[in-house]
Structure formats: C-alpha cells, structure tokens
C-alpha cells in the first residue's frame, strides 16, 4: 500500500506530528506528511477528516497545538498567510476573494505585497498567461467572468509570487469538466517546472489523473499514503470511510405504513455560482421509518433541503407530496401546516436567531400555532413552549430565557430539534443533525429522531456522518453531484459501497460507464 515512488533527496515541505485541538475535538492528530519538489501530492478525505485544518496550519491561518513544519529541512513557524507567501507558499481557496467591480489587473495588483504598478502587473500577467495557458483579459471586470476564469486569477496571483508550493482546495468544485481539464494541464506544466502542488479533493478520478502520491486522512489522522493509480477506487474508498462496520441496530423492526413524503423527478438548477444542481431526484419516506441521505458536503445536500423545506419552490406541485398533498409549490409555512417540520444545517442565523431569546426563537417555526392569536404574540405561551423544550430535551441553558447565542452548539441543536419534535410532525427533515455537537448531545438527538419515527412519523436525515446514518437509518441513499442513488434498506449497504457512491465511481467500478 506504500507509494512506489520513493522520496528522492530532501523534501520541500515536511510536516511532523502536527496536531490541532479544539476543546475536546482533535481536528488533526499527529499528522506526518512530506511533499517532494515538483510533486503533485493529493490530500484525500471525507469532510471533517481534517484536511482544511491541516492546510490552514500550513498556510499560517491557524496555529498548530503541537508539531513542526520543515521547509527544505529547516524548521519554520508560519504565523500568517503573509509569512507563508514570503516563504514561497501560495494557496487558491475554494471560494474566491475578488472584487466584482474591479478589473482582472486591479484585483491582482491589490493582493500583491510590494510595489507593483498596474502596467507591470499587466506585463507579468501576459507572460504568465502565455506560459501556462491561463488566458485572461487584464481589463475585464470580474463580474463578467466565469468561475473558471475567476479561479485563473487566483492562480495567477499565486504564480506572480513565484511559489515553491501551490495549495489548491477542491479547485474543480466550481469548474465545468472542460475548465477542469484545462486546469490539470496547467498544473502538469507547473509541476514539470519544479513547483510542488498540494491538491485537496475528494474526487478520485481527478486525483488519479494528476497525482502519484496521495495522503488519506480520516478522523484527523493519516491512515495511509498511497499511489492512487496503483490502488483501486474500492480500496481508496474503504480507506477514506473506514472499514469498521457500524453497530447493528437492536430495536424491533418497524412496520412502515403509507408514504408520508414522495419526491418525484425533482430537478433544480443551481442557485448561484457555488450551488449544485439537483438532477432527477426520486425519494420516498414512509411513516415509521428513518431515511438517511449520505454524501460528501457540497453535493447538493443544502439544495435538497431547501427544495424539501420549501425555501426554494419546485416548478410543479406534484414534484413533492407531503402526506399525499402536492406541496412542491407551497412555501415553508404551508408545508408546516400539512404536517412537516424542518431543521436546517446552520444553527445560528438559519434555524435560530442568535440575538433573540429562546421564547422568541420558538416563534420561528411555531408562528401559526399556539404561540399566536390573530396576529398577536402570546408571549407567555411562547415562554411555556420554550420551557417544555428545555425540559424534555435536556437543554442546558443559563438562567431564565437566554439569547440563543448563549447556548453551546450541542444545547442549541437540542433546542432547535426539540422545537420541531414537540410539534409532533408527521414528517421531519433534518440536515446534519449532529454537526459540531458533543457526543452526549449527539446521542440524545439520534435517539429522539428514532423515537419520533417509531411513533409513526417519517424522518429524513441528511448527514455526512456515516456512522450516524448506519445507527439511525432504516433505508439509505447517497447523494453525489446532485444525483441520488437508489434508496436501499440499511442492511444492504456496506460502508465500502457507500464510499464508492460518495466518490461517484460506483457505476464505473461496476463496469457500466466511466464518469
């Protein structure tokens, strides 16, 4: 399983025992990694595996709790991105930082440290564009450019500083396949000239196309460093998601009844530049069961949630049926009134208003119920509802009726999930129910979701945490690039199969067609 390319001479960058601790969470745990000069090195892993943390440490954005960074054998401390750039490290982030109203040349000039006149920038831009095939018009305004062109600006910005290591964080997530192929050619050329590249991705095909060595992270640790071309997609998927089989559920098998949710041929264009389109999604959730949706973040989960909740409307009412009622064109509150409840991924600002008290926060999803009468708020009723949520779901709060932001992540999550469950919905849709939540709260939340289903509701859980889904789901599907795999009973899934679906290579491995 070790890479068959032996490290030659002195590595350019060497990370030794890098750890980063956030409270109880070890985001990086003793990570060792070395990058050779001119190498394209992949960093693979699921979301939450610690890739971003590691890269941010390397680029000086965050400080490691322990460990050492060596540059050409010399120990260095990288206190800020400015220092990182001075040491010859360049980074292209997934989300661009460009001024829409300025031109390409202006955007490049503002980001450069040192004295650069616009004419020098134009000149250098021309040179670099020519050498690396990064065609850019210096005088176009950013808002007229495509995502691929915007990314080129970010790359050119790095190249102007003559970097020795270029870090790219999921660079193809916003590109069309043609733009991606163009990027790969550029990276090949850079690497041939001796510039090292650290390529972060969860897309196996790309990694195989570009890299000879890949470091795989899981749970903050390095699980293997391999040659992606020598290992099968199956092997890599297994490494990424782990081999351990999830705990078999022990409670009595459920007896699903009628369909509470039916989604038929749901297709939606992406909402913005970084959005993901939904393609022909079919999904059904029956009363009494928990349906899990697995997938790597950014594959359409938030879009699916927005479509199911009614924050974005479908074109036809029949696309989504809740309790048998065509609801595709109903707003979120109308869907609540036919018996649905929703918990979005983001707690602060989406499911709860941070500066509002808990009783005010109950109004957000209970507005048309017992907490109001003919347009007036019944503040005492709202306080009563908030108190009963706090008691039933073991929400630990400061005294009285505190602001939502004063609660810890786990307690606020218990509150917002409790707020929906206490309404006894026929259908509950939850996005990332235990994201960033401590283990105790996570257990309570999962139990509450299963209990709700067993009482006869349908529960849909969208999650990146596979262990969680294996624990709570009765049936599961995987979302990849806006497409949903068939829904299968949880017993028929292996972690390996899920991993392959998550990477979008299930069909390729099965020999149907390559993606």
């Amino acid at each position: 399983m070790k890479a068959d390319v032996p490290p030659s001479g002195q590595p350019l960058v060497e990370l030794k025992g890098i750890s980063k601790r956030y409270g109880d969470l070890l985001a990086n745990d003793g990570i060792n990694l070395s990058i050779e000069p001119g190498e394209i090195h992949a960093l693979l892993g699921e979301n939450g595996a610690g890739k971003s943390t590691l890269v941010k440490i390397l680029y000086g954005v965050i400080e490691p709790s322990a460990g050492e960074i060596r540059l050409e054998g010399r120990p260095v401390t990288i206190g800020s991105p400015v220092e990182a750039r001075a040491l010859g490290l360049g980074m292209v982030f997934q989300h661009f930082s460009l001024f829409d109203e300025l031109t390409v040349a202006e955007n490049i000039a503002v980001a450069l440290s040192g004295d650069w006149s616009l004419s020098t920038v134009r000149e250098k831009l021309g040179e670099i564009s020519g050498t690396y095939g990064l065609a850019l018009d210096a005088d176009r305004a950013i808002w007229t450019l495509s995502a691929g062109e915007r990314q080129r600006i970010e790359i050119v910005r790095c190249l102007l500083q003559n970097p020795r290591l270029l870090i790219l964080d999921e660079p193809t997530s916003v590109l069309t396949p043609q733009e991606a192929e163009h990027l790969f050619t550029t990276l090949d050329r850079l690497s041939a000239e001796g510039c090292s590249i650290l390529y972060i991705s969860h897309k196996l095909e790309e990694v195989r196309r570009l890299c000879r060595r890949a470091t795989i992270l899981r749970g903050g640790r390095v699980v293997a460093t391999i040659d992606p071309r020598a290992s099968s997609a199956r092997e890599i998927a297994a490494l990424m998601v782990g081999n351990a089989v999830g705990d078999i559920r022990t409670d009595a098998p459920h007896h699903p009844q009628g369909e509470t949710l039916r989604v038929s041929n749901l297709t939606m264009p992406p909402a913005g530049l970084h959005g993901q389109a939904l393609r022909d999604i079919n999904l059904a959730a029956r009363a009494g069961e928990v349906v899990g949706i697995a997938g790597v973040a950014g594959n359409g989960q938030s879009e699916l949630f927005a479509a199911l909740s009614g924050e974005r409307l479908a074109d036809h009412a029949e696309t989504i049926a809740i309790n048998g009622k065509p609801s595709g064109t109903m707003g979120i509150d109308a869907r609540r009134r036919v018996g649905a409840a929703f918990v979005p991924e983001e707690r602060l600002g989406h499911s709860a208003a941070p500066t509002h008290s808990l009783s005010e926060n109950t109004l957000i999803s209970h507005a048309s119920t017992e907490v109001s009468r003919s347009g007036f708020i019944l503040m005492n009723a709202a306080k009563r509802v908030a108190r009963s949520i706090v008691q039933s779901f073991d929400v630990r709060t400061p005294e009285g009726d505190p602001q939502a932001r004063k609660l810890s992540g786990g307690n606020l999550q218990k509150f917002v999930i409790g707020r929906e469950i206490i309404r006894r919905p026929k259908l509950l849709i939850v996005d990332q129910p235990t994201w960033g939540v401590d283990a105790g709260a996570a257990r309570l939340i999962r139990q509450a979701l299963v209990d709700l289903a067993r009482e006869g509701s349908a529960v849909v859980v969208i999650s990146q945490d596979l262990d969680e889904l294996f624990e709570v789901a009765d049936r599961m599907a995987v979302i990849h690039q806006g497409t949903l795999s068939p829904l299968r009973p949880i017993g028929e899934w292996t972690k390996e199969a899920v991993g392959l679906e998550m990477l979008g290579v299930a069909q390729a491995e099965g020999g149907v067609h390559a993606i």
Binding site: E311, I332, R336, P344, S351, A353, T355, A367, G375
Partner: protein, 358 residues
C-alpha cells in the same frame, strides 16, 4: 497598535441608561468647545439653545409643532430600519403626501365642500406617501435595485414636481406671481387642538402612531417578523416570512406616515402649498429614528430633543449670531455620541499592541 471590539456577554439596563446620559453630556461638551473656539460663551449658548426654549410657553408649543412631523416620519422609518431596509427618501414621500392631499384642498377651494374634505385630504396624504414609498420597494423586489439610491433620488423628483406645480398650474392667480398656491379654506385646514394655540392635530396623529407602533413592534407577529428579518434574514425565510411582502409592507407604512406628516404640516401649519414645505424633516427623521434606537418611545423623546436644537438654533442665530449650520453639526455630533455610547455598551474595546496578541 490597533483596536479590537469584543462583544460583552451582558450589558445591564443601568449601563445603557448611563451611556445615553453620558452621550448627551459629551455632545454638549464638544459643541461647547466648538462655540468657544468661535469666540462665543458656551454658557450663554447653552442658555439660548436649551434653557430659554424650555422656559417659554410659546417655545414649548413650537417644540411640539416641530417635533410632530419628525416623530411621525421617524416612527415610520423605524419599521424599515428594524428590518434592515434603508428608506432614505422619507422627504420625498412627505412632499408627495402634501401634494396629493393639497390637490384636494385646491380642487375644493371656494366650494363650501363641507367636513369630508379634511379627512379625505389626510387619507390622500397617506396614500400619496405610501405610493411614493412603494416605488423603491417595487424596484427592489422586482429588479433587485438598491433601495437607498432609488428612495433618495425620488426625493428630488418629488421636490421638482412640487416646484413645478406651485410655479405653474397651481399658482395663486392673485398671488402677485409668488410661487405659491391659494391659502386653504378653513374646511381644508387642520385646526389647533386649543383655540388660539399653535399645536395642531398632527401632534395627536404622532402620539397615536407612537402607541400603535409600540404595540405592533412589541406584541404582534408582524413586529417580530421585522425584527427577525433585520437580525437573521435566513431565519426569517426559514420561518416562512416572505421578504418581498416585508419590503413592500414597511415601505408602504413608512411612506404613508411620511405622507401624513406632509399633509398635516401643509394643512395645519403652512396653510398653502409652496416650493419649500420642509426644512429637511425627512432627512433629520433618520437621525431621530436612530437617536431613539428605533424604539417608539425613544423616537418620541428624540424628536423633541432634535426639535429643541432647531428652535435653539434659530434663536442662537438671532441672539448670538451663530450660523444655522452649527445646529446641523450639533445634531450630527449628538448622533455620533449616542452611537458610540451604544457601541461601548455592547462591546469591550481592547487595545492590541503589535505582536502582543494572536
């Protein structure tokens, strides 16, 4: 070295009250210093600006007369500002309210039309202001145009419409060519509350607006919807509140109240249409709304304070030869002090020396 603002975990009410008082004292000290630099006595200025108006019955009435339009407009603006929507064009909505209401007064001039004229004028004032306010709201919801720009630009359109009307079609034929309309009939005049007094019924409208708004913002779902839209817009969408409906509603409300202020001022105070019917009430009301922290009672108090600076400024101009610009400067200083005090109650200021903190 640089500043860093860290949010305070709790800020008691006592501290907030104290901060407001401190802000006023600081504003007076700064203004006093400026007056001293101009070679006048700050003590005499304080006497002319504050003490004399407050101890003279005529000035006290004048205070309420001046505070009325500002309170009405600022109350309306508080609906917008709570929802983080920036209606900067209340001055224009005020003018159009006066124009549409004034139109009825001129149409019925000399006809003995009866008691229905005045209520209908007021209603037309509200409708005119609301419609003028809905233009930027519609442009925002339909085309995504920034409401700050459109509402502001429509002020100039409104002022020019008024200017055209009083110089052209609506000019008083017996008015010696002055650009003004005929004087409104008694049936089209908003009467003083007390016989022979200066304070007209517009003050009652302002008081009602304060009370109703206190209930709407504090006790109703609509009020919570505005607060949620301003504080957490995604949560407002999640709650099912349509942002388009919110935008249209708050612009209609604030435009309507500005229009009511306009027609009340014209019919109760000026008595005719003329090119200038406001010393910038619509813009000063923005200051008033924030001085009152978007709270209805606070706005009522703030409108009286700002009215005091207007009246004090006028007498200071006469008695101390201080320029009227100083009044506006003082309003600005006061607002900055109050905002700074607010920031210091909500945040702790830390000085970070270079290399000292990570």
């Amino acid at each position: 070295m640089r500043f860093e603002l860290t949010p305070r975990t709790n800020s008691p009410t006592v501290m907030r009250v104290f901060a407001s008082v401190a802000a006023f004292i600081t504003a007076f000290l700064i203004a006093g210093f400026v007056i001293w630099l101009m070679g006048r006595s700050p003590i005499a200025a304080f006497d002319v600006y504050v003490l004399q108006p407050l101890s003279d019955p005529w000035s006290l009435q004048e205070l309420i007369v001046k505070a009325t339009p500002m309170a009405l407009i600022a109350i309306g603006l508080s609906y917008c500002f709570r929802a983080n929507l920036w209606n900067i064009g209340a001055e224009g909505q005020y003018v159009i309210g006066a124009v549409l209401g004034g139109w009825l007064a001129l149409r019925t001039h000399g006809t003995d039309a009866g008691a229905w004229v005045l209520p209908l004028m007021l209603l037309l004032g509200v409708i005119g202001g609301a419609l003028w306010g809905l233009i930027p709201a519609f442009l925002k919801t339909r085309f995504g145009v920034n409401e700050i720009l459109t509402s502001l630009m429509l002020v100039y359109v409104a002022q020019l419409i008024l200017d055209y009307l009083v110089r052209g079609p609506w000019r008083d034929p017996k008015g010696f060519n002055f650009p003004q309309s005929v004087t409104f009939d008694p049936s089209a005049t908003l009467h003083p509350i007390l016989e022979g007094g200066r304070v007209h019924y517009g003050a009652v409208f302002a008081a009602i607006a304060v009370l109703v708004t206190a209930i709407v913002l504090g006790r109703t779902l609509f009020g919570y919807r505005l607060k949620l839209t301003g504080d957490a817009p995604r949560a407002a969408r999640f709650a099912g509140f349509s942002s388009k409906a919110t935008i249209l509603a708050v612009f209609a409300i604030s435009g309507g109240l500005a229009g009511l202020a306009g027609i009340s001022e014209v019919s109760g105070q000026i008595g005719q249409l003329q090119p200038s019917i406001s010393p910038g009430y619509g813009f000063t009301a923005i200051t008033v709304a924030f001085l009152g922290r978007l709270n209805p009672i606070g706005i009522l108090v703030a409108s009286l304070v700002v009215a005091l600076t207007f009246i004090g400024g006028e007498s200071a101009q006469i008695m101390l030869k201080l320029p009227l610009d100083l009044t506006q400067a003082f309003q600005g200083i006061l607002l900055l002090c109050v905002l700074a005090a607010d920031a210091m109650v909500s945040y702790r200021i830390r000085f970070v020396t270079r290399g000292g903190g990570k």
